[in-house]
Symmetry: C2
Subunit: 192 residues, 2 copies
């Protein structure tokens, strides 16, 4: 159950066997159905998730509409970082889009691991470095690219996601309405 997780960590740092045993005791397995809220609006969260199987999204509610701001699938960490780090109620909701299997790490255990495993700070630092680069690329794409360009980029970089996520969620994720995405798709079809 944790092999998949350590396959992931092995690409980042060299945890010792002892490290991994400690880590494994801190991780709890959780299996949830579609549409489960892992983090809810205005609730504090002290959990981080490692996705073993399935698909999640993060969304905000604005004017009564759900606006998807993040989508991710297998072998990645996700959490409501703001609430997790600062302890404030979360403005974002994290919800499963499929039956999902995760490993859960809570803040208390993470704090303990930072003390017990010196490599832990380095591990998390490297994860954060990668995540930051990803976020900066996403942010840059919003500034540089048109919605149509963002869609075609998503199409080429992450074609699987299109099979797993409803189009109206993709639309808000691209910063546009479902109507507009439908038009963009039509436009692209007509070009080819």
């Amino acid at each position: 159950m944790t092999e998949q997780f350590f396959t992931f960590t092995d690409k980042i740092v060299n945890f010792t066997k002892a490290n991994k045993e400690l880590l494994a005791t801190a991780l709890s397995f959780r299996q949830v159905t579609t549409k489960t809220e892992l983090v809810s609006y205005n609730k504090r969260t002290d959990e981080l998730y490692f996705l073993l199987k399935g698909c999640l999204r993060k969304y905000y509610v604005k004017d009564g509409e759900q606006i998807t701001i993040y989508i991710t699938a297998e072998n990645s960490f996700i959490g409501a970082f703001d609430s997790f780090v600062t302890g404030t109620p979360s403005k974002e909701t994290i919800e499963t889009l499929e039956p999902t299997e995760l490993l859960v790490l809570n803040k208390k255990d993470l704090t303990r691991l930072y003390k017990e495993i010196p490599l832990m700070n380095e591990f998390v630092r490297k994860i954060l470095e990668q995540t930051l680069i990803q976020f900066q690329q996403a942010l840059t794409s919003f500034i540089l690219d048109s919605p149509e360009e963002r869609y075609t980029k998503l199409l080429s970089q992450n074609p699987q996601i299109l099979q797993r996520v409803p189009q109206h969620m993709l639309a808000t994720y691209l910063g546009i309405t479902a109507t507009s995405l439908s038009r963009i798709r039509k436009r692209i079809l007509e070009k080819s």
Copy 2:
């Protein structure tokens, strides 16, 4: 010269005197004029900067136009993280907008500091956590808010920046053209 930097670090972790002496030897002071490129297009960078005084922006070139993707001022770290971390040529340019004073930390020294100062990983991890939250908020604002909302938010959260950065740079930073920002400003004036 480094007091200002340690005032900053003291808010994050408790470096010992010995830590600070080590750190200080790794930091070099640099004073540059307006429009100096700290990181240039297609060049690798192995430097991170801590801004003591002045103002910087990061920009991309698209279709011959400079598109500003980040602006920052005193007491913050900046660098072309992608190039810095992965060693690939930078697609972004970092340029001063004012006469600027900085502390420079290069990658070799940072790598050394990670080994010599255990707290260093924690320090950088915490900086990255904060930066990630900021980036996520910026990204979210692009998805959730209209250009007009982004402008008024910037106005209320960071009014000083408006005095220091030309409007056409702010415009691209907001994801719109200078023309459009000018009209938004007019619209806001007429409302009040």
